[in-house]
């Protein structure tokens, strides 16, 4: 039983990272019905940007966030205005295909620039620091930080969406883009800001991922799948549901791997499929 307790605790903490992968996806889908297949690759791109920043400036990765987040936000705004906006419309397929193409381009671009070698961000003592709770349970500082940051990101997003003018504009454009422009909102700009916000969260997720694990140009798609699964398990209605989805995915993976490490990924996918079969709108989604 003891090892199960530890597995659950570790799973909850991992869930914070999965939630962070997922929140940006959910935000973009919620505001502009864009299924961004390149989301995982943008996370990896952010990791490489952080790699360059930390190497050239000799900064700690967490401090480098102060540079990586604005860079990724600008990249996001540019991608939306220059690329995705041209494919947006009532049909979701064109933008989905464009994002798929972008995914291929990012992966191959990174491969050309950085080769297929594994990379990792060095964060010094933070990587291994932990607090021992009992004989079998000790909590890593970095995983705890992931969960705390995921919660802070959600609180921040809720505040932004429900308490600020730009959040009001996001919701209005999401409700009815045709009428929103008739009320003076420039939908293309609003979409650009939404993608910038999504990519700022992506930057945070990418740096945390890159401190925790090795990455290479082909790492993106698996991150995308965990993000999608967290969003769908949680249901598309709230970011708290997304966090719960990420935690459920993390716990299932962690518990399964405590029995046999080979089951880790498979168990997560099976849990996702069960949720999809039993509650297609997600555990916390409203039934349409």
């Amino acid at each position: 039983m003891e090892h199960l307790g530890n597995a659950i605790v570790q799973g909850v903490l991992t869930g914070g990272l999965y939630a962070m992968f997922a929140i940006g996806l959910a935000l973009i889908f919620g505001i502009m019905r864009l299924v961004n297949i390149a989301h995982g690759d943008l996370i990896v791109l952010a990791a490489y940007v952080a790699l360059i920043v930390t190497q050239t400036l000799g900064l700690n990765p967490l401090l480098a966030l102060g540079i990586v987040i604005p860079i990724m936000a600008v990249v996001g705004y540019g991608l939306q205005r220059g690329l995705f906006n041209r494919a947006m419309g009532t049909d979701v397929m064109p933008s989905l295909l464009v994002s798929f193409g972008l995914s291929v381009i990012i992966q191959n671009g990174l491969l050309m620039l950085f080769s297929a070698d594994n990379k990792r961000l060095q964060a010094g003592a933070l990587e291994v620091a932990s607090v021992t709770l009992s004989d079998t349970i000790s909590i890593g500082l970095l995983p705890s930080l992931q969960l705390v940051l995921a919660i802070l990101v959600i609180i921040g997003l809720q505040f932004l969406l429900y308490r600020t003018a730009i959040g009001r504009a996001f919701r209005a454009v999401s409700d009815d883009p045709r009428i929103a422009q008739l009320m003076g909102l420039n939908n293309r700009h609003v979409f650009g800001l939404a993608m910038a916000l999504s990519c700022a969260i992506v930057a945070l997720a990418g740096v945390l991922l890159a401190i925790r694990a090795n990455f290479d140009p082909a790492t993106g798609p698996t991150r995308l799948i965990f993000g999608f699964e967290a969003v769908i398990i949680g249901g598309l209605t709230s970011f708290w549901g997304t966090l719960a989805g990420g935690i459920i995915l993390g716990v299932v993976q962690s518990v399964a791997s405590s029995f046999d490490p080979g089951w880790q990924i498979l168990a997560g996918h099976i849990a996702f499929l069960i949720v999809l079969a039993v509650r297609p709108n997600g555990l916390f989604g409203r039934v349409a």
Partner: protein
């Protein structure tokens, strides 16, 4: 005669191969209420959509306040002071009453209309300002839609089928408010299927038939027979 506030010249519109407007001309003078009447499918809403920039139009086909605005994107046209109250009200469902009104203020045009002034005009909205917009009655939703448009401080308000789906007594109330709004230095174009209502409030009337202006004139000068024949095309 001074320049009109809005001048539409030879506007055409197409839905695929189907031509919805055939060279429509209208003018709206400052301080006027202009009604556009016509049967279903005559092209009234299409004309409004062309004016607000949803349909493509030639640069000089539409001029507003002395500037040619044809072909400008809708969000820029709103900034010039031309705002629509869309057919069916179309409030933002996930926004409450006050948030819907505040979206109208996004363009930040200076003018008299503020939240306080809209609440003064529609006191019931102040009481319900934190209510989800869709849980209001139809008449109250129409007030929010009008208030949302007023928050942009328009010089010209386009109203598409204000009476749609509302009880006659409510319609009368809404049009009562329109008088008060126009007295406030705002001109209005009213698209209406309810001819009686339109004639009662308008200074000038255009009657559309199959994508063309079939009849126009001062509201008092048009006979019932002339309107009927222009309306039905007999």
């Amino acid at each position: 005669m001074p320049d009109p506030l809005l001048r539409v010249r030879g506007v055409e519109a197409f839905y695929g191969d189907f031509q919805a407007l055939y060279g429509v001309d209208i003018e709206v003078a400052r301080g006027q209420i202009v009604a556009i009447i016509g049967a279903n499918g005559a092209g009234k809403s299409t004309l409004l959509n062309s004016i607000v920039g949803l349909n493509p139009a030639g640069r000089s086909a539409i001029s507003f306040n002395g500037a040619d605005i044809g072909g400008e994107p809708p969000h820029q046209i709103v900034r010039r002071g031309l705002t629509i109250v869309p057919e069916g009200r179309r409030l933002f469902a996930s926004l409450n009453v006050e948030e819907n009104l505040l979206i109208g203020a996004e363009v930040k045009r200076s003018g008299d209309w503020t939240l306080a002034k809209v609440y003064e005009l529609f006191p019931v909205l102040r009481e319900r300002r934190h209510t989800p917009s869709r849980s209001l009655s139809g008449g109250q939703q129409q007030m929010v839609a009008i208030g949302r448009a007023l928050m942009s401080n328009p010089a010209l308000l386009l109203c598409d089928e204000l009476s749609l789906g509302l009880a006659p007594i409510v319609v009368k109330g809404i049009y009562g408010y329109m008088k008060a709004i126009v007295a406030n230095d705002v001109s209005a174009v009213i698209v209406e299927q309810d001819i009686q209502q339109a004639l009662r409030i308008a200074d000038y009337v255009y009657c559309m038939l199959e994508g063309r202006i079939a009849l126009h004139g001062r509201a008092g000068s048009l006979s019932r027979e002339a309107i009927a024949s222009a309306y039905f095309g007999v």
